[in-house]
Symmetry: C2
Subunit: 279 residues, 2 copies
């Protein structure tokens, strides 16, 4: 019996967009994710690009708004969009906050109660989900990772912390130094007990210890409302220079933080990842 329950299946770009549910051992709840299987998956296993979404998102936003599937179908790459947090009535939440609790898993393993039981999105994204997908779906163990905002942070840290696990990494408007911005400080205090405990989930801190010199490809709009207070790519840039870590930071004139920005550059990112995944 499959560990995956199929919720919905829609044909698009000659492939299939499928939503699955499964019981997550990491998060102790039912989790949902979306997969776009390109037409090439009919004939054999394909490599996969993980897209980690931002605050408030589910597995749906990327698949509906990014216009990514046409590029993935062209390159023969599967797209995987996990949810952004554990879900369900039993999962603790702050319903008044968009940036804490449900929709804000932050791709870390919480250590503090009441979050510690369910909020293990780091283990979920890095270990549980790829193992499940590569065992149940026509997807082989060639992985790349990208993401947006909180999910851009997630993409950077899972790549930096797991040498050999990903072929390439990129991010759209990522939170680059979460121990030095309000979103990160709030999450780390709540989920980990202190801001400093977040150092192991902070890309700007992690480049000093990276055992693999995977290029960090980042697109960032210069008209992004969160750029100055929350995203801070200049801190990551300084750390990469100091520790000789390859970074391609492309500041994009006039672009904001929206999915219209992602839609503009997703084709370039998928081409970048496809090259690494098929090389």
């Amino acid at each position: 019996m499959s560990a995956l329950t199929e919720i919905e299946r829609v044909k698009m770009c000659e492939g299939w967009l499928v939503t699955y549910e499964h019981m997550s051992a990491s998060n102790h709840c039912t989790m949902r994710f979306s997969v776009f299987l390109p037409p090439q998956a009919e004939h054999g296993k394909v490599p996969a690009l993980y897209f980690l979404s931002g605050l408030t998102c589910t597995d749906e936003n990327f698949m509906v708004k990014a216009g990514a599937q046409v590029h993935a179908a062209e390159h023969g790459v599967a797209l995987i969009a996990p949810d952004t947090s554990p879900r369900g009535d039993e999962v603790p939440d702050d319903p008044d906050a968009y940036d804490y609790g449900k929709g804000a898993g932050f791709y870390v393993n919480a250590t503090e109660e009441p979050m510690a039981t369910h909020y293990h999105m780091y283990d979920y994204v890095v270990d549980e989900l790829p193992a499940l997908i590569e065992s149940e779906l026509p997807i082989r163990d060639a992985r790349s990772v990208t993401g947006h905002s909180m999910g851009g942070h997630g993409a950077l840290i899972v790549a930096l912390k797991n040498p050999g696990k990903y072929r390439s990494v990129s991010a759209f408007a990522p939170i680059c130094a979460p121990t030095q911005c309000p979103w990160g400080e709030k999450i780390f205090n709540g989920y980990l007990g202190s801001v400093e405990a977040g150092a192991e989930y902070d890309a700007t801190r992690l480049v000093s210890q990276a055992q693999e010199k995977l290029t960090l490809l980042i697109d960032q709009g210069d008209d992004d409302e969160f750029l100055i207070e929350q995203l801070k790519p200049q801190l990551l840039e300084a750390a990469c220079q100091e520790h000789d870590h390859p970074l391609e930071l492309r500041m994009r004139s006039g672009y904001d933080h929206s999915y219209f920005f992602i839609q503009t550059f997703i084709g370039e990112h998928i081409a970048h990842h496809a090259k690494a995944l098929k090389g």
Copy 2:
């Protein structure tokens, strides 16, 4: 002073996605529409493709979900997405029906009260909006039209009824014979006083009188839940055969009625229109 009020402006695909409001003389209310101006519009006037949306949509759905802008930017074509009905507290509606009143203008001129004062979406889309856009924006009088479902019906009828006005026409899963389906019967009875009065807004009826042999390019999924009861492309196909009107009806295996279907084929449609608009 411009007749247009700019509501929002977002950079994408090196062009601009802009939302405008204006007082509509046709509909006697404030109307909103969205325009994607491709980067080529910085250097001179560009041609325009109108996208008429389906039931329940506003000007936003197409711009958020279709992934069209990347193709429009490539071809140097502006995209115009009108709203689907008049709006505002003064506009009569059936709030319990998704297929009557607001969100369901059906691209006709209502003759029956209480709808007759405001529901003039045919005049709005055919005359008022292009005149406004071509006078206020960097868009020249080269027009093509497409649409989805109710808006596919709209695209077909505005092209068939206005020889010389559009360079090309296409549709995604259009309502092909509205005098012979429940959606059309309900609208025509309410807005026009009888189903038969809808004959002048029925593509299958109009092909017999078309003064211009513009090819009708239609994509239709064969797994579309509305195909049998509401869309009925076989009736249009028979009329086109009888009256020797050029039709390219492409039945798409496995596709449904969603924006994922549109996202799959919008690139082909925009290439088709760009050729006509720039020829």
